[in-house]
Symmetry: C2
Subunit: 356 residues, 2 copies
């Protein structure tokens, strides 16, 4: 039985769910694949838990439980952090798992790869920053990152399998935001954008400041990760995202923005009317292909794969040299703690099987 040490960065919602899923599945994974997934360290904005030896499942679960209650069992200070970095230089390959939303882990992750370790990411930041960093992390397949796009849906693995087998991408068309998909469905059902958005905000479907969803930036980051996976050496500014609000509302306070939502209603009502008149579907679509990318609201003919989508599901339609006439389509819930953590855990298992 081979022990595979894991250092997990992040103990937020996804991180706590991952630790629980992993420990619950540990014995079954050991029996099936002959690998023992062992926590060597937990790293969080609050501190570090790393004794230099394998942590007991009880210690990990205690840290998870404490964090869920707003406390932290992680140690502050330099000694434990240095231990984590040192673990990445040891003779045994480690899997460094970043399930945080932090932008400060890139150096540690690049070090991990440089010293022959593996990386698994739910965090989009390290892959959506400079292209050179994406290359460093993903060279020779050292990093898996299924959960960065579509959560637990098989998106990156599907694209990678197509590319590995020599297929070439013509285009991906995707709906990658549950929040924006929900708003499209409400608009099509005849509601005003302001009313739909106020409800979504109250129900917690949006970010605390809904402009973080409505800007389209998060969708653009996912589109960038898809493009880079195909070998396109782009930076984020190559993918302009159409925001749902005019520049005048970009700089105001959140409260003012929420108070002026009705200003958005007329232009959106126009687009909905146009969609109805032409029998089209209104969707917030990301398109990525060798010739370029776009992220924005589109009117799609009823027969388009994305037109059949209702509500918050994600959908990815891959048109390739081999799937030329009819695309390969993956669809389903693309957000949520349980499915995101499951996507990360599946990546960890796939990586661990390579380290036996």
């Amino acid at each position: 039985m081979k022990s595979i040490p894991i250092i997990q960065l992040g103990l937020g919602g996804v991180g706590r769910e991952l630790a629980q899923q992993l420990l619950a599945r540990r014995d079954a994974i050991a029996e099936r694949y002959g690998v023992s997934l062992d926590y060597l360290g937990l790293v969080d904005s609050a501190g570090v838990l790393n004794t230099g030896a394998i942590l007991s499942p009880e210690a990990v679960l205690a840290a998870v439980e404490a964090k869920a209650q707003g406390r932290s069992l992680l140690e502050q200070g330099g000694a434990a952090r240095t231990d984590s970095a040192a673990s990445l230089r040891g003779p045994t390959p480690v899997i460094a798992v970043d399930v945080s939303a932090a932008s400060g882990n890139a150096g540690l992750l690049a070090d991990a790869v440089r010293f022959g370790n593996r990386v698994v990411l739910a965090n989009k930041q390290p892959l959506a920053a400079a292209y050179s960093q994406f290359l460093t992390l993903t060279e020779h397949g050292a990093t898996r990152y299924e959960a960065t796009v579509g959560a637990g849906l098989p998106v990156i693995s599907t694209l990678q399998a197509l590319l590995d087998s020599g297929d070439s991408l013509t285009r991906v068309e995707a709906a990658m935001s549950g929040t924006l998909g929900y708003l499209c469905a409400e608009l099509e059902a005849g509601r005003s954008l302001s009313a739909a958005l106020r409800d979504a905000h109250a129900l917690g479907y949006t970010e605390p400041d809904p402009r973080d969803d409505l800007s389209g930036k998060d969708v653009a980051r996912k589109a960038l990760i898809l493009a880079r996976t195909c070998g396109l050496a782009w930076e984020l500014d190559a993918i302009p995202a159409e925001p749902w609000f005019p520049p005048a509302l970009a700089a105001v306070s959140r409260d003012e923005f929420m108070g002026r939502l009705e200003e958005l209603d007329a232009p959106f009502a126009e687009r909905v009317a146009e969609a109805r008149a032409t029998g089209s579907a209104l969707r917030y679509v990301a398109r990525v292909g060798p010739e370029g990318a776009s992220v924005g609201l589109q009117l799609l003919p009823a027969a388009h794969p994305l037109a059949g989508l209702r509500g918050p599901d994600n959908l990815f339609s891959f048109t390739t040299a081999r799937y030329a006439e009819r695309p390969l389509v993956v669809r389903g819930p693309g957000a949520g703690l349980a499915v995101t953590a499951a996507g990360v855990l599946a990546d960890i298992v796939a990586t661990a099987r390579e380290l036996v």
Copy 2:
């Protein structure tokens, strides 16, 4: 650079396409993953090509070319066959790839696994025979078999990732036959079954004897592979498939069957009329869940994921503990030489990465 020896069983359409794809991608795979995919042997009903050393790409392509022209460069006789079997007992793990449709390879494949090698299958036979054989082949993940269900679509890998991460299957609902999907679409478009089937037969969309499609047996075999992947210890007779023809037409000659197709029209016209009257879609559906499986024609409400399917595409809808309210859906062309071979090649790459 680690050499990964490959023994390929089968040089039919998929086998020839696979050899060409693999050799075209060999350098790129070597560069990306540090593994060199090297043919050690080719085995076919015509004979064996195995010199005991790695075959040159030229020798493999010559054998492929000859076979495509109806000749064979494979040697008859015992010596080369023994070499192939001996390769599986050597110190270097081999990937045995079965892209034939033969039922006689089970012993060799079981030997391969027993001696620590790996197996990749497009051939359904070895997994749809006795359950004990399925267990032998798949224990500890020794065998990958993506292409046995849905060709290149990510079906088995998706299901396995769900299970690995601790999700549990409630049910899979699937349309897994392009031929039967085509017939459903034609029926819904108002054609008679006999006319649609005669066209499909003339166009080569069906097996030479269309009853091989219409019996539903092939769909049942795929459903069995899905069930067994979930740990359900079933045999094929646990999945009754509803045939499209009455018992009286099962035993007659192919020519007589083709001459009596009009006998099928009236009962199918009734079902189409019922579908229309209730606003339903007519689909040939496989359902698999812990409580049992069924394979047959069904009327589905318009909102069902399978109702949106048109024509020959395959569709797989996974409802699980985590994808409970809305399923995870994979859809696209589920047959064809190029996508089937690509599914096999992606499995070979994934396996090779574990052997570095």
